[in-house]
């Protein structure tokens, strides 16, 4: 998956790859939004529309054996870490063939085969999981690193502090990625957390960078540098990405708490539009971009068909699969 050396300008194929991955996340979530509105997706879903440059920029700097712990807004983390699209849709639509057998849904998409340790319904809980995963990499000496994505709201959870400390103490190969989208549900970040996460990291001697999270090349460059540092044994690293949540906290949230001004300014920050403008000045043609879009749309449409074609999970199979040895235990 890793594709650029830190500092080198991105190649054309890489740019197309970024574009394709961001579009995949975007269009998958657009589709989930409409499926949700139509009642085909149950429960709560949290979309990361507007934040695609973060997950794609970071995961493009990872290897397959690297592990990733995510949060409630984890569709992008999952897809860009390599979770297969059909099993992703099947899961979120609650089907037996879903990657988690329909037992977890949107807030629990995981795929151990690609190191995706799971979205998580508990704010902050992924952070210590990543610490443990990084410990495993360190003990097993397998050259892998762990990455954890969390929002600005998660900064207030004590496990962040504990995990910064433990990671620094043990020099664990872990990259902390803070997706700072300025909102924690319906509350603005400035009413939630007083400190700057980079100052905190600094107090623990954890190197950090802060980038515009809507500029994929910036995100990616920083991620390349920081993952390289973590991988070579320099200990934990932090990447703060300033970004924007376009949709409500969950689908169905009318976002009355945001000003019209903020809402209308969101399009300026769109990472995909930005990227399209940027690459248009390079060697990528409109046609090439259109063909990426067509490809993605086709994929999504296939995945939705697959999701619709999935079956209701078997209750007895689920009930007897709580422990490894099954019911008989």
């Amino acid at each position: 998956m890793k594709s650029t050396k830190a500092g080198k300008p991105a190649s054309k194929s890489q740019l197309l790859d970024f574009y394709e991955r961001m579009l995949l996340v975007r269009e998958a979530e657009n589709k989930l939004s409409s499926l949700f509105a139509d009642g085909e997706v149950p429960g709560f879903i949290h979309l990361s529309i507007g934040q695609e440059a973060v997950c794609v920029g970071v995961t493009a700097a990872l290897e397959k054996q690297d592990t990733l712990a995510s949060n409630h807004r984890g569709h992008g983390h999952a897809l860009s870490k390599g979770v297969e699209l059909e099993s992703f849709f099947l899961e979120i639509m609650g089907k037996e063939e879903g990657i988690c057998g329909g037992r977890g849904g949107s807030m629990h998409v995981a795929d151990m085969s690609v190191g995706m340790l799971g979205a998580n319904g508990i704010v902050g809980a992924g952070i210590p999981l990543a610490i443990g995963s990084a410990l495993a990499h360190q003990v097993r000496k397998n050259d892998a690193i762990a990455v954890v994505f969390f929002g600005d709201g998660a900064l207030a959870e004590g496990v962040l502090h504990e995990s910064f400390n433990l990671a620094a103490l043990w020099k664990l190969p872990v990259l902390f990625v803070c997706e700072n989208n300025g909102w924690s549900e319906f509350s603005p970040a400035n009413l939630q957390f007083v400190a700057n996460v980079r100052d905190l990291a600094k107090a623990f001697d954890i190197p950090s960078q802060c980038v515009d999270g809507n500029e994929i090349l910036d995100v990616h460059k920083a991620a390349e540098e920081l993952t390289a540092a973590a991988r070579r044994g320099d200990g934990p690293q932090l990447l703060e990405c300033i970004t924007h949540r376009v949709r409500g906290h969950f689908e169905g949230d009318p976002q009355k708490y945001r000003t019209e001004e903020e809402m209308t300014s969101l399009s300026e920050h769109d990472p995909i539009t930005k990227f399209e403008k940027l690459v248009a000045t390079k060697r990528i043609t409109k046609k090439e971009m259109q063909s990426v879009r067509d490809k993605i749309n086709q994929k999504i449409s296939n995945a939705v068909d697959a999701g619709r074609g999935g079956s209701d999970p078997d209750f007895e199979r689920a009930r007897t699969d709580v422990y490894t040895a099954g019911e008989g235990l």
Partner: protein, 324 residues
């Protein structure tokens, strides 16, 4: 008598408590500006001001710990934990601090706090947003645990919980927030620790609490069509719980079914059954049957969750079993 929704009934109790007692304060995630994730606290910030109605960061351990410290220092805090599953993060403050303070300080202080939190499934919120963990609290000396089954009780019991000098876990049910019900205006005694006979019957006693009481009532209605008269007891609170009321009913019906949404094993129903298998043994004409969730996490998919949750069919089957 007016009909109000469950969420509104709670809101009214909070509003009343804030109006009447300046030591009542309210805090939690998104409870102030946004009026609560389920709209329960809507309007309270505007009416009672930001000194007493506050949004907090996502820091459950400290939210509850601060409630304990505030309660020991002259306030009556009412805090909200958005989903009961997240109380797992606050267990130290609840169990090692709130529950123990009065006792271990020799009765020098009380801890008059209320922790409101919704439990339960039914909205496909998945394994980390649907649990019913009330048995944890009921096992801890020093805590009280209240679980209202309807808007009127929710209103009255919340007022009682806020007035109570000891720490109370007040458990709401997220699937019930929009349920409408009449606000009882009788002088009937709605006290923590006092059960209510939700339906009288002679053939079997069904003991329940919270939203499941409504399932029990629906089952009883169906059973009545086959001339089986089930008595339904709504415990209202599970710590303390009204064992005298259950025993009294059992001594008339001689058959007992216990129903709750929580996992059956090691759940609240176990204590009720165990107690009746001791003090009520001579009254029992049949095995005690419990109806609750199977021993598995709450699954996400609609089809799975609907099979997971207790329902009237399961209650009817249990009643038929104890009458067989």
């Amino acid at each position: 008598m007016a009909e109000v929704r469950y969420a509104k009934a709670i809101n009214m109790a909070l509003d009343e408590a804030l109006s009447e007692d300046p030591s009542v304060v309210l805090f939690g995630e998104d409870v102030a500006q946004a009026g609560g994730p389920f709209g329960v606290t809507r309007g309270l910030l505007d009416k009672h001001g930001e000194l007493r109605v506050r949004d907090t960061p996502i820091s459950e351990a400290t939210i509850v710990g601060a409630a304990v410290g505030a309660a020991m220092s002259g306030l009556k805090p009412v805090v909200e934990i958005m989903f009961m599953d997240f109380v797992a993060i606050s267990m130290d403050a609840l169990v090692n601090q709130a529950a123990k303070a009065r006792f271990m300080f020799g009765g020098q202080c009380t801890v008059p706090m209320v922790l409101r939190t919704p439990h339960g499934g039914g909205v496909n919120a998945g394994p980390q947003h649907s649990q019913c963990l009330e048995a944890w609290f009921a096992h801890i000396p020093g805590l009280k645990v209240v679980v209202p089954s309807n808007p009127s009780d929710a209103n009255k019991l919340l007022k009682a919980a806020i007035a109570d000098p000891d720490p109370v876990i007040f458990i709401e049910n997220k699937a019930m927030y929009s349920l409408k019900g009449e606000m009882s205006e009788t002088e009937e005694d709605v006290a923590i620790g006092k059960a209510r006979i939700a339906r009288s019957g002679t053939d079997v006693t069904i003991v329940s609490y919270g939203a499941a009481v409504n399932t029990a009532l629906a089952a009883a209605k169906t059973l009545a069509q086959s001339n089986i008269e089930a008595e339904v007891i709504d415990l209202r609170s599970i710590q303390p719980w009204d064992e005298a009321a259950v025993l009294e009913s059992l001594s008339r019906t001689h058959r007992l079914v216990i129903l709750h949404e929580a996992v059956t094993s090691f759940g609240v129903g176990a204590e009720i059954a165990a107690r009746m298998a001791d003090i009520g043994f001579d009254e029992l004409d049949a095995p005690i049957v419990r109806v609750g969730a199977p021993f598995m996490p709450v699954p996400f998919a609609k089809s799975l969750e609907s099979q997971y949750l207790p329902n009237t069919d399961k209650v009817i089957a249990a009643v038929e079993q104890v009458l067989a």
